[in-house]
């Protein structure tokens, strides 16, 4: 069985003195990926509503 490398939370957060770099990497990546998913979901919902309310429009002005 493999064990956790860290013996405490504060040690884990400090990342051996590289906390800023490690968490700066993982944090920004998490924000980017979550934001992309949430933005896509919102866009799909808006499209569904808009297509329902304005059936005469052929296509949104800004597609991408």
């Amino acid at each position: 069985m493999m064990n956790l490398y860290w013996s405490s939370w504060s040690e884990f957060l400090a990342m051996g003195g590289y906390g800023l770099y490690v968490w700066g990497s993982f944090g920004v990546t998490a924000v980017v990926l979550l934001a992309e998913v949430l933005a896509l979901r919102a866009r799909h919902r808006n499209l569904l509503r808009d297509a329902h309310d304005n059936p005469e429009i052929e296509r949104s002005e800004h597609e991408t």
Binding site: M2, L4, M15, Y18, S25, L48, H52, R59
Partner: protein, 247 residues
Amino acid sequence: MNWFKYAAPQRFYALSGRLVPWFAAAGVLFTVVGLVIGLGIAPTDAQQGDSYRIIFIHVPAAWMSMFVYLIMAFWAGIGLMFNARLASTLAIALAPTGAWMTFIALWTGALWGRPTWGTWWVWDARLTSELILLFLYIGYMALHAAIEDPRRADRASALLALVGVVNVPIIYFSVKWWNTLHQGASVSLSKAPTIATTMLVGMLVMSLAFWMYCIAVALMRTRTLLLDRERHTAWARQAVHQGLGAK
């Protein structure tokens, strides 16, 4: 089973709608396992200390930035050759995700470079060619957005995407062809990996997580674009009706 029937936008819309939750769930699972291994179990690196843990997102993101470009250019080319709407839509749907992967690779690279090399950025072959990749993605999206007619936009931007393919081998082999600050490949098919087994497993699991993420997000965006382009058609109206009913 006739796979070509899924080339029809309405079939693809329905099929991908069922597939997205599975890719998303697999992505979450691989991410959790990969993070536990990479941040929790893997030991520290003798030379770089814990800053090396950035590898668990830097390398998968950098791989995906190149893979997504190749897949995007492939579908753009298919769309151009066979005048296939779905292929062209897949290509343009991949571009923002590829651009974000490139951004993540550059961002995490800067945060890794600072403690390791003492600098956020150098104009060496690997970093510069990866930055050019980001500009290629942005240029491709900008060109597509600038042309009013979607089919003409597909064709013009496909040419740009195909020309840009030449940059991908330059990125990949840059660390061999030029003297650079960037280290060589961590994983290669021709020789034993230069990193410990736990690190390798963590990196591969995180790579699977990034693959699943990119597939799920690209499928989501393809569905939205297809529905938008075809919103005047009978199948799209029905899909809109069903989509709103489910909420």
